[in-house]
């Protein structure tokens, strides 16, 4: 569990860490659109370079970053294999066995899917590694502000989101503690037959749920005790400020966008 870094924050002080969360959120979203616009190896190369450059700017150690997303590689490989075996016929067929066939089209296509997956995972990992959960929630709230016009409960949603994000690490720690406590009582997690393994879930999940409900109850009492009301306007302790480097980073991605448009024209 500790190996996976997807969705975690790594406190450091780099240019990327200091960017405005709204900037990073919109840029990531823009990047995903670019990924789906890529249509040949030149464009994928360009986007890969952009990703590597962004990671480099964040000063996160390479080995840490790539070891961290390695557990996700199985998910990617599974999808890619599906692509590879079940692509439609219609181009050169290399290999066939019953309904499975590998075509030239299939190979190229699955290579693209692989790249797409990798780029998106790398970029979203970078986003969460360099942005504190609370800043993320603030950024989302600020970006959703226009929805207030249609009476969408933006602030409540943001509050729910930040509470959820806030408790992810807590619950992860608690899972670990409870697992250890049950191990000490003779539970073998992750070994034995399937039936045995399913049984080990109960001593883990029941205490975890109990503790999650307790947290929720404590928190709601604490919030009410301090006068929280969901639909009053509120201010933020930490104000989001758009700096020059935020504009610069957007400028950089616009240039990438133009480059991508040009490369798309290549045969």
């Amino acid at each position: 569990m500790n190996k996976l870094i997807f969705g975690r924050y790594l406190p450091m002080n780099s240019w990327v860490h200091r960017l405005d969360p709204r900037d990073k959120l919109t840029l990531s979203f823009f990047f995903f659109i670019l990924v789906f616009m890529a249509n040949n190896w030149e464009t994928y190369l360009l986007l890969s370079i952009v990703t590597l450059f962004s990671i480099w700017m964040s000063k996160i150690p390479w080995h840490f970053f790539f070891r961290g997303i390695r557990p996700l590689i199985w998910l990617i490989i599974f999808t890619v294999l599906l692509q590879l075996f079940f692509s439609p016929a219609g181009s050169h067929v290399y290999w066939q066995w019953g309904p499975f066939l590998i075509t030239q089209f299939g190979i190229v296509n699955s290579a693209y899917v692989f790249m797409r997956f990798l780029l998106i995972i790398a970029m979203s990992t970078l986003l969460t590694l360099t942005t504190q959960p609370l800043d993320l929630a603030n950024g989302i709230e600020s970006l959703m502000a226009p929805l207030k016009i249609v009476h969408f409960p933006v602030e409540t949603t943001a509050m729910m989101l930040s509470i959820a994000l806030r408790f992810v690490p807590t619950l992860m720690d608690e899972t670990e503690t409870i697992m250890n406590a049950q191990r000490a009582r003779g539970v073998d997690f992750g070994s034995g037959s399937i039936m045995k393994q399913i049984k080990t879930v109960i001593p883990l999940l029941v205490p975890l749920f109990v503790s999650a409900f307790n947290h929720a109850e404590d928190l709601s009492v604490a919030m009410e005790a301090r006068g929280y009301q969901p639909d009053t306007p509120r201010t933020h302790y930490r104000q989001l400020v758009w700096h020059r480097q935020d504009t610069i980073s957007w400028g950089f991605y616009i240039v990438v966008f133009i480059g991508l448009l040009a490369l798309r024209q290549l045969p």
Partner: protein, 288 residues
């Protein structure tokens, strides 16, 4: 069952930028039948240390030998069950581990995992409910309906029911009422005396250390800062003060008397010892 630490270092999140060294080069021997108290301020590595004693954590470097088993960073996670049966562990806030429908079933969970059949486990559970001082009618209630202190007792009963030979207690009485605390500590001591149970107690209660422990280990920033008998450790008042550690009340009192000119050959640790020593010095009659 003796436990030996040889040059044990433990890093949380080893190999990442967040790596944090919670234990640094620990050498320690806990002889069979010992009663060891581990003290030190919060975050000094006490819980990390004791979790090595039943292989819940494996040393990043160095080795831990528990009875015949040697645990190093290379040790496989399988086959640790026999070890965990011998070394019972009561975690900090153990009430978080309860999950069964009834108190009794929860207590039976450990022994049944370690190969006891239902009848034996049932008997053990009845016995333990009695030992930890739970009212008998709690046996068939849900553990979640009980008070915090009662839940604590259920969890402790669940570990005792495994009949371990070594018992690790990580702040077992934190948050209990004074009477419950005294009862609980006396109960552990009885098990230690009568069944020769080796006990390792992590605590902030210096009175408990003074009353029961044979040896004391002081942890400080992941290092074993001091080790010795309770008398040895509590003699060095200045050092303890400098490290923000308390003294047992009797020792504190004696220390204050010393500063006003009194003289003690051995440091009294408990009120009884202090009273006796004072009575002797003041020429009174020896009490009982």
């Amino acid at each position: 069952m003796a436990i030996t630490f040889k040059g044990v270092t433990y890093d949380y999140q080893a190999g990442t930028p967040m790596s944090f060294s919670a234990l640094k080069n620990i050498d320690l021997t806990v002889p069979d039948g010992d009663y060891l108290a581990v003290i030190g301020h919060t975050g000094s590595g006490k819980s990390t240390l004791v979790q090595h004693m039943n292989a819940l954590l494996k040393p990043t470097s160095g080795s831990v030998t528990i009875g015949e088993r040697e645990i190093t960073s290379q040790t496989n996670n399988k086959d640790l069950k026999p070890l965990r049966k011998e070394v019972g562990m009561v975690f900090q806030f153990p009430e978080h581990q309860l999950f069964e429908e009834t108190v009794k079933k929860d207590i039976m969970f450990g022994p049944m995992n370690f190969g006891k059949n239902e009848v034996e486990a049932d008997q053990l559970a009845d016995q333990m409910i009695d030992i930890v001082g739970l009212p008998e009618n709690t046996a068939d209630r849900s553990p979640f309906e009980l008070s915090g202190g009662q839940m604590r007792r259920v969890a402790i009963a669940g570990v005792l029911a495994m009949q371990p030979r070594v018992l690790i207690l990580d702040e077992p009485t934190a948050g209990l009422d004074p009477q419950g605390r005294t009862e609980m500590m006396a109960m552990f001591n009885r098990l230690h005396q009568e069944q020769g149970l080796t006990i390792i107690l992590v605590t902030h209660q210096m009175e408990d250390v003074a009353n029961y422990a044979k040896h004391v280990l002081v942890m400080d920033h992941g290092e074993a800062a001091k080790y010795g008998t309770a008398e040895e450790v509590f003699t060095d008042v200045e050092w303890l003060r400098a490290n923000n550690l308390d003294l047992p009340i009797a020792t504190q009192f004696a220390h204050q008397l010393t500063q006003r000119g009194a003289n003690f050959t051995t440091v009294p640790l408990t009120t009884a010892e202090l009273a006796q020593e004072l009575a002797r010095q003041l020429g009174g009659k020896r009490h009982e």
